[in-house]
């Protein structure tokens, strides 16, 4: 399908927010190395990687209306694809490509199975969850040295240690140091954000949202929802793959726990906390939750799980629509120009419609 922007005078306002976000991102990108040391950078690098992961979930769920309980399957596939690729090739550039392509291919197969099989939403949740657990079990049981792909032992529960770090494309000896990795991760986050903003502005993106709003109507207008959902799902998988690749690079290590229920649930929480139906929300959510977790671990008064549990529950009861809409709301109140107002409402109502 040809991607063309539909007439949307309102978009300018949307772009305003997007541009602000990108600029903010760039400031962080270049500012961070000045204000923090190696460890700080490693820390924010993993935050950025997880934020990309959250972005993917936020896209397919908040805009595509696909509730995937197993997004971590794609994170994991991306991570493993990178690790295996990097250990078999001298130049990691190819491995990065694998990290994106493998999840997308897998998603295409799974998505076809689900969407063309007319499987209802709740059950799409179950199937994705189940598939993730299957992957976890399989990878988890590859400990024997018989399990290896080329030079890369799968390592079962132990995972794959000392994965080669990213290198400058075409120059295998020039490997990225923590700072380089940070630029890479944060850069990728910004690019993914821009990419998704653009996709949503295209005709394709509008139809995706339309289908979420009313599948029957979209169908009666001649659009095939199955196809659009499939494409959305595949895009999400590719972005999750990028996240997985960066996640692996961050620790130079990957293990089956990336396929865990934890990871999938974690990303759902990011999106809900950040705000469903926004792109900035999942990013904020990911960083906020990760930061909260750090705090929880840092204090010794109350068990971190207990603390986090209480926070989550309080959150559902008090801020159900997520932080991003709330922030936008207050922005709206501060500067009452309609141009800012409408997108905010749009996103709130999208959030609510879930």
């Amino acid at each position: 399908m040809k991607l063309k922007t539909l007439p949307r005078p309102r978009q300018d306002a949307g772009w305003g927010g997007a541009i602000a976000t990108v600029v903010g991102g760039l400031v962080i990108l270049f500012g961070m190395p000045m204000v923090t040391g190696t460890f700080g950078l490693l820390q924010v690098t993993v935050f950025a990687a997880l934020a990309i992961f959250a972005l993917a979930q936020g896209f397919i769920w908040g805009f595509g209306g696909i509730l995937c309980f197993g997004q971590s399957a794609f994170l994991g596939l991306g991570g493993y694809a990178y690790a295996i690729g990097a250990m078999n090739m001298t130049d990691t550039t190819g491995a990065v490509a694998l990290a994106v392509i493998v999840p997308m291919i897998f998603a295409a197969g799974l998505g076809y199975f689900m969407f063309y099989g007319r499987i209802s939403d709740a059950y799409i949740g179950v199937i994705t969850l189940t598939v993730t657990i299957i992957l976890f079990n399989l990878i988890n049981s590859t400990s024997g040295d018989i399990y290896h792909i080329g030079a890369a032992p799968l390592g079962g529960f132990n995972g794959i240690p000392s994965v080669p770090p990213l290198n400058i494309p075409g120059n295998p000896d020039d490997q990225l140091d923590p700072t380089g990795l940070w630029y890479c991760a944060m850069g990728a986050l910004i690019l993914c954000y821009i990419l998704l903003k653009w996709v949503l502005a295209t005709r394709f993106g509008r139809v995706v949202v339309a289908i979420r709003e009313n599948e029957t109507r979209a169908q009666l207008l001649g659009y095939d929802p199955r196809l659009f959902k499939l494409l959305t799902f595949v895009i999400g998988a590719g972005i999750s793959g990028v996240a997985g690749c960066l996640y692996t690079n961050w620790g130079a290590f990957i293990s089956p726990t990336v396929f865990s229920l934890t990871m999938s649930a974690q990303v759902i929480i990011y999106v809900l906390v950040g705000g469903l139906g926004t792109l900035i929300g999942p990013i904020l959510g990911a960083v906020a939750i990760q930061y909260l977790i750090t705090l929880a671990g840092g204090q010794h008064v109350i068990d971190p799980n207990l603390m986090l549990g209480i926070v989550l529950v309080a959150f559902v009861l008090l801020v159900p629509q997520g932080v991003a809409p709330v922030i936008r709301g207050s922005v709206r109140r501060l500067m009452p120009s309609r141009s800012v107002a409408t997108p905010a409402q749009a996103e709130v109502s999208q959030g609510a419609s879930q």
Binding site: S141, N158, T262, A265, I293
Partner: protein, 416 residues
């Protein structure tokens, strides 16, 4: 799923620096050398999740070692400050905290890691960021890396004693059950090796991921194979279910069992004597070892942490020894600088651990250790035999860091 939720709970808990700091402060206050800049020592252990049950006493042993050293006046006139993080049985947190200890806290040495998985996850990080690392767990052997010292015993020191005993007393047909990760796989190989050397026959080897809780089919399979002996290398909280279900199925009466891991996770206290009685194991230390060092170690620990400690095991004595070996190295080197300490430790330093004299083998960075064979009897370990100064022969066979200091890998035994 419990494995995965360990990490779910894991990701919820970062930077849990408990005990260490809290404990260290009073000494600093008490001691004259309070003024001196403390030496920071890092510790990474699972306080919770499937491995928390082993990690907690290991931390306590480490804290006890720090206390002992500080009470003796610290090292180089400086107090020791322990910084420890709870890794929650999560690989991500191991990575994260390893980076934190190496780069942010800039500790002089890191003690810890329980599963081989965690060790392999953090070893590269410490290599990369030039941090000295002690791994204090009874493990599968073969790690050969100049930046790491392993104070736990290895198959050549334990399995080599378990298997012959089993073959001699129970019979030649062996069935192996092991945890499905590299510890289990490599240990199973050693079990097979020693069984064959002893003229026995391995009927079958089954591996179980750490999150398996239902062992009924496994027990049926074992019954079908009808071995004389079951050798177990099961790991973690979930696998305790195996022993429960084994006893519940009335198998204890039929087939005796020996294990290379049983007893490392407070099994004797957490399970009924009817479940544990008669299981044979071999380690570098038992609380029932009849030696003055054992008594003083136990007294010290009880004095510091109160009477309701879990039953201590080799993991805990090794954690204590790990800290002590490092301290010995620092004293000898007169510095906490990494290379200096490594060189000092490579002079074949000995310490008096809970199990008596233990010597660091320069070639392998493993420990020449007294080991013991014991049988569980009414929630106590009844020592059957002891083997003074068993060498880490398995690792020694493949690894010589004096000849090739550049080696940085884990060797795996080939059984054919």
């Amino acid at each position: 799923m419990s494995r995965t939720t360990d990490t779910r709970r894991g990701f919820l808990k970062m930077g849990a620096a408990l005990g260490g700091t809290a404990l260290a402060t009073p000494f600093i206050a008490r001691n004259a050398f309070a003024a001196a800049e403390p030496i920071k020592v890092g510790c990474l252990l699972d306080m919770s999740g499937a491995l928390g049950v082993s990690g907690q006493p290991m931390l306590q042993a480490t804290q006890y070692a720090v206390k002992v050293l500080n009470d003796q006046g610290g090292l180089l006139g400086r107090p020791i400050k322990l910084i420890n993080y709870d890794t929650q049985s999560s690989m991500q947190l191991y990575t994260q905290y390893a980076q934190q200890l190496a780069l942010k806290d800039k500790v002089a040495v890191v003690q810890g890691g329980i599963t081989s998985a965690s060790r392999e996850a953090i070893r590269p990080i410490f290599d990369r960021f030039k941090t000295l690392y002690f791994y204090n767990t009874q493990y599968e052997g073969g790690v050969c890396d100049r930046d790491i010292f392993c104070t736990g015993t290895t198959p050549a020191q334990t399995v080599s004693h378990i298997v012959p005993y089993a073959l001699k007393n129970w019979g030649k047909k062996v069935y192996i059950v092991a945890a499905d990760y590299n510890y289990g796989h490599i240990t199973a190989k050693w079990m097979t090796k020693y069984t064959r050397e002893g003229g026995g026959q391995v009927l079958e080897t089954d591996f179980f991921p750490l999150d398996v809780t239902d062992f009924s089919s496994a027990i049926s399979k074992i019954q079908q194979a009808a071995p004389d002996v079951v050798l177990s290398a099961m790991v973690g909280a979930n696998h305790l279910g195996f022993y429960r279900q084994w006893a519940a199925a009335g198998m204890k009466a039929k087939i005796p069992m020996a294990s290379s891991t049983f007893g490392l996770a407070n099994e004797l206290n957490s399970m009924d004597a009817s479940v544990t009685n008669g299981i044979v194991s071999a380690y570098g230390w038992y609380p029932t070892v009849n030696a003055p060092e054992t008594t003083s170690f136990l007294d010290g620990m009880t004095k510091m942490f109160g009477p309701n400690l879990p039953m201590l095991s080799e993991l805990d004595s090794a954690s204590y020894e790990g800290m002590m070996f490092w301290a010995e190295g620092v004293k000898k080197a007169g510095s906490i600088e990494r290379m200096a300490v490594i060189k000092a430790l490579e002079t074949g330093i000995s310490i008096d651990g809970p199990a008596g004299k233990a010597t660091m083998d320069p070639a392998t960075h493993h420990v020449v250790h007294n080991t013991f064979l014991a049988e569980a009897k009414d929630k106590k370990w009844d020592i059957l035999e002891n083997f003074p100064a068993s060498p880490p022969a398995d690792t020694a066979a493949v690894c010589n860091l004096l000849k090739n200091p550049r080696t940085d890998k884990q060797f795996v035994v080939e059984v054919n």
